[in-house]
Amino acid sequence: MTNTTMHRDQLRQVALSSGAERDAYLLNHPISMRPVEVLTRSIEEAFLQVVTAVKYRQLGLCFQAPFRLGKTTAACIIASNISQVVPHLAVHLMVAKTHEKVSERAFYGDACDSFMLTNEGTAEERSGRLRKAIVAACQAVDGNQFLLMIDEGQNWGEKEWEWFRDTSNVLLKDSKITLTTVTFGDMRLGAMRGRFQRTRQDLWARFMMKSTVFSGIRHKEDLAYFLSQLDNAEKYEYPAGSGISFSEFFFPLAYSAGWRLENQTDAIWKAFERAASKVCRKVDELGMQWVSDTVVDFLISRTLGDFEGFNCGPDDWDNSVAASRFVESLV
């Protein structure tokens, strides 16, 4: 037996046996964090679109979706992983903020904060600092392309996009750096896009010409894909190096006997349908918040009932769907 396998076996035993160490692992389990960063079909599709935009050096791309569908999670996952696919690419994720009084200085101050830079100085000095940070980041990866992921993009107005365009122009002119922006926003971003298309085609063409509606869980296949990720220790394991998938961590005995979350797809979907029918609604698309909250509630609340012959009934899922407050979101 090699050291690696010994270590893995010991880790598995500690993580899956009752005791203080398992309790500690439980507290820090990624599933207990928000957002739950697990890949979905929609995120995968968005990822491919962003990769294409970057590869062809497109200047802008935007995703719009209703609230709680998983845009922020998508932005985080894409930002975390795109460098593995596109080398020599510098990436940063920032959140657009609103201000009662829009000013160039405040705008660049937000940007400097996001880049963890001092925000001293005038608007011009702040914008210069921001540009040099971008140049430095590109130098660090030996590239000349910067991908800026902007979350809550609907919070910026015409002025902010203008200032940002200027930054992009100077970067290209002075440093030969292409700035690609990928903006995530709610449906107000779509409205802004329409307005820009009519009145500010320069901004529209640069930042919002390519627009996609970001989806949540659209059908059972999407749900099955999401659940299969939680069963897959090769993609999502915890603790690191243990080879324990997320679902096995909570149901080790049932998992060893062949139980899988993915097999619960029908039961979960039907639970959502039953919940929606209570308020006379149909399930067209599920927001990731409700799906992930439902699954997390199920895993955490039922883990004590784990045994080899474990199986769950519709009530279990109904309770977890109720705990996710899905119905309230429909009202």
């Binding site: 985080c76 930002a79 975390s80 795109i82 460098s83 690419l89 510098a90 990436v91 940063h92 994720l93 920032m94 959140v95 996001s114 880049f115 963890m116 830079l117 001092t118 001293e120 100085g121 011009e124 000095e125 702040r126 210069g128 600092r129 540009r131 040099k132 940070a133 140049v135 430095a136 980041a137 130098q139 660090a140 990866v141 100077v170 002075d174 440093s175």
Partner: protein
Amino acid sequence: MIIVTPIPTYQGLVWRSAWEVPCEGPFSLAAKVANANELQFADVRDWVFAKNFSTANLGNDTVRPVLCSSRVRYCRLCMDRCYHPWLFQLWHFDTCPIHGHPLLTSCQTCDAPTTFFPFDGRTNTSVNLRCPRCTEPYGASKSGLSLAGWGSVDGVEKIAAACDAVMWICLAIPFTARLLNSDQWAPTGSIAHGNKEEEIQRGKALFCVLQKLYGLGHDPQLATVGLFYEHVEGQLSGPPVWFHEPEAGNLAARLDSGLSIDDFSNETVRPSFGSSVPVSSKVPAWVHAVSIWQRQHHGFPGDPTRISINCAQYQADWFAASKIACEWHDALLRLEAEGAHPQKSAALMSIDERWCRRLGRWSDRGYSPVLRIADSTQKASVVI
């Protein structure tokens, strides 16, 4: 927040460690930090100078109070690369080791003395340190240097070697530590404590050690150093500080055996001027080192491993002797492992030549571990 490609920052400022050239001092570092962050030079100067910003610290806290010029001393071509090594601030480095140009202390356009508050004339893309009076750049180029060019200076290894020597001396030689610490430096008979002239003399003393150990160039003013030592020798107060450099410490521990190089007559050859040279690794390196040192200092009472800092020159010679002997010994070991004939070895020749070139004064005094002269087949080429 996720930042996948970390934005290169340092304490809230845009900064890449790759922008710092080895041995760079706080002056040009401050200029780069200011430029990268669209700040005034004065805003970052004190911060960079005071906050242990990398190696700049040595040029600042340790050396500057005693040995550094109050004016910026610069090489025009280095300034074109926005590079100002802290070494330039030390007395007696009068030329740039990279370019061979003289180090300047005034603007070449208006002759105003340099200061640590230059006109930094920020531009969007480049850094260019300028004279505060006439705003002309200190460097030869008018255009300055953009971020893309920061961090690379051809030939910087020459600066690095010299800086290594200074740092090594600062850290390892009690004498130099004493030399650098003005509080510990007792006033000499005719030179008042804190006097500028005395500081220059300290600088010369340091340079003397550096030159002997690392061959840092020739300074005609070194002729005065001998007088300086004769003057201060024996006048410093306080208990002697013994030499504890590890390599020599080991040698010192073995001196008690009472061996000398004459005990290894079968493993040495004796050049015409009389100093034996080992041709076998059976001769311990420390025996060789003592032989070298004693050849330099006939009549010195006591052994070289117990020299007080009062005798700085002697101590420096002992450092050099031990280094020559160890290098020589290592070369012999290598040659024996290869089955080569030591007396005809190019490796030993090169050691010999290198040390002779570095330590010019040694050959003046008659010692050179020149193996050529011991090789009967090459007697015609002997040069002493």
